[in-house]
């Protein structure tokens, strides 16, 4: 059983959801997600669960956190739920980021709500030699994330599309600006698929290894429906499910729409 302990707006239309749980089948790892039912018990609408990446996790306090943007019917309803409400939640689900402890210089590149899973990842990575590149529409959307990452003591770079921070532009452009003088050993990225494709292309060109997390429309989140199939790049391989083999894939593993 999961219970809301906080559900508050931390940016324009962006909410922090903190849940308490009784028990979990296993401790969640960075890059995994939970699948949350937002409808009233007994109501058939909205029908499907909503997947959200783990933003933070605290085993001692039995707490799991998400950051979500209100985009449609389900997230609107979720944003109106009060503390103490019990939720039907499945998870942790999916394949997490692998932490690749041996990599020294690591870049994390996050766009929009794609930033959410990178925070828990950043926290869990042993190496503190991390450079984090975040982008969003504007400063207000980034503020909450920026504060949190600052708390981790990592090198942080910020960009916004609508106003000039370090630059006026996307996380991708920000990262590319730094890339020349500063080639990482490994990259982790999450955000719009176009951004993932561009990061992947650039990384592969520079022989940088890495992982990315995709957002696919999901039916079940547990691998039974094949709604989330991702075409693979290897010719002899069949599709992979974003909810089971993903959402984290290696760079070059699945076909992204650029």
């Amino acid at each position: 059983m999961f219970k809301i302990i906080a559900n508050r707006e931390v940016g324009p239309g962006i909410f922090q959801l903190v849940l308490n749980y009784d028990q979990l089948p296993q401790n969640p790892k960075p890059g995994q997600f939970f699948n949350i039912k937002v409808s009233q018990p007994g109501s058939d609408d909205p029908l499907l669960r909503r997947p959200f990446s783990i933003f933070d996790f605290d085993a001692a306090e039995k707490k799991v956190e998400f950051i979500y943007r209100v985009v449609g019917k389900g997230t609107k309803i979720l944003s109106e739920l009060e503390a103490e409400t019990e939720l039907d939640v499945l998870g942790p689900l999916g394949t997490p980021f692998s932490l690749n402890e041996n990599k020294g210089n690591v870049h994390l590149i996050g766009g929009g709500m794609g930033i959410a899973p990178l925070y828990y990842l950043s926290k869990k990575l042993k190496s503190r030699n991390q450079k984090v590149y975040l982008g969003a529409a504007n400063q207000a959307e980034l503020e909450f994330f920026a504060e949190k990452f600052k708390g981790l003591g990592v090198e942080l770079h910020l960009a916004a599309m609508e106003e000039k921070l370090e630059i006026k532009g996307s996380a991708l452009v920000l990262w590319l600006n730094y890339l020349e003088k500063n080639i990482p050993d490994y990259v982790y990225t999450c955000g719009p698929e176009k951004m993932l494709a561009a990061v992947e292309k650039e990384a592969l060109k520079n022989n940088i290894g890495g992982q990315l997390s995709v957002e696919k429309r999901m039916g079940c989140g547990i691998g039974v429906c094949l709604s989330c199939s991702c075409e693979t790049k290897a010719e002899d391989e069949s599709n992979k499910r974003a909810c089971v083999e993903g959402p984290v894939f290696g760079l070059g593993e699945v076909v992204l729409s650029a």
Binding site: D44, R217, S227
Partner: protein, 325 residues
């Protein structure tokens, strides 16, 4: 007073309840019947090939298991998005992603060897020959209790019309499969038709042991922000609670016209919904979309059926089949 008399009567307990149902075969011989310990059958395409559900419960608790639809050749499926949510429903256009019948036999069937429940292979084809090919390949496979012939695919050689919308095609394909395949044959019908009793009767005449209804309703959703169809494939099939009233009506309407049993499905979410389908005339009931939302739906629904049986003091679940007529 009736209240008193009920109170003084011996009450049934949970352990006395009998949930088993028999899907009779057309041959009316006992060894050809499909015996189910309860009426729940997984709906094709919504439960993978079973092992994904193992984290949640032992699927051997169910009546039977239907595999994801297979075709002669491997299919990559449609482009994504393949799923859209609608009010109390979903539209899917998975596009029959599957490894083809040969891989199915070599890789998937062996994985089912620990299952003690009957396994049904859902077969889909784009031509009559496809169905014949698969029937031949699957004939004699001891792992299988039977096949479910999915007639909701377009007849590619016949102008793209969906097989299941034409009673003659339903008859022909069923007959061909019947001639080859000796196991239990369920013919799965499409609801996108003026009169589903005609295709149901055609299947029966051609030798189907049972019919399944309904497959999904043809539907679409438009992404109004991008001003284009949301599904990459434009159209898809609607399932989930939204369609249940249509499915129940079709089962009810068909029940009296048919001798063979009906596998009713479409929108089942709870034990009450299973009861509704059985009262309408279904002998077995499929659970599809609900598994995607509640992976442990199977055992929950079985419990809910038992509660209903206790409340109504029904000892044998099969006694309610068609009771709403």
């Amino acid at each position: 007073m009736p209240e008193n008399s009920i109170e003084t009567k011996q009450k049934l307990t949970k352990s006395e309840l009998n949930l088993s149902v028999v899907m009779k075969s057309q041959q009316q011989t006992e060894e050809k019947n499909l015996n189910l310990k309860n009426p729940l059958i997984t709906a094709s395409g919504t439960c993978g090939n079973g092992k994904e559900l193992a984290d949640f419960y032992d699927i051997n608790q169910l009546g039977a298991f239907t595999t994801k639809g297979i075709t002669v050749e491997a299919q990559p499926g449609n482009k994504t998005p393949r799923i859209a949510e609608t009010s109390a429903g979903i539209i899917n256009s998975i596009g029959l992603e599957n490894p083809g019948v040969e891989s199915f036999i070599e890789e998937i069937l062996p994985e089912t060897k620990n299952y003690t429940l009957p396994i049904l292979a859902n077969i889909s084809g784009y031509s009559e020959q496809d169905f014949i090919n698969m029937a031949e390949k699957l004939e004699g496979r001891a792992e299988l209790a039977g096949v479910e012939v999915n007639l909701s695919c377009p007849n590619i050689k016949g102008g793209g019309m969906v097989f299941g919308t034409d009673p003659e095609k339903v008859f022909e394909i069923t007959k061909k499969v019947r001639e080859i395949y000796s196991g239990y044959i369920i013919v799965k019908l499409t609801p996108n038709i003026t009169d589903i009793t005609k295709t149901a009767l055609a299947a029966e005449e051609a030798g189907a042991d049972a019919v399944a209804m309904i497959n999904t309703l043809s539907a679409m959703k438009i992404d109004i922000e991008r001003q284009q169809p949301l599904l990459a494939n434009t159209f898809g099939g609607l399932s989930g609670p939204a369609v249940r009233p249509v499915a129940v009506k079709m089962v009810y309407q068909t029940y009296k016209k048919l001798e063979i049993p009906i596998l009713g499905l479409g929108g089942v979410q709870s034990g009450s919904d299973v009861i509704e389908f059985m009262l309408a005339g279904a002998t077995a009931v499929g659970i599809g979309t609900v598994n995607m939302i509640d992976p442990a739906a199977g055992p929950r629904i079985i419990e809910e059926i038992k509660e209903y049986m206790l409340r109504h003091q029904i000892k044998n679940l099969s006694s309610i089949i068609g009771a709403a007529h």
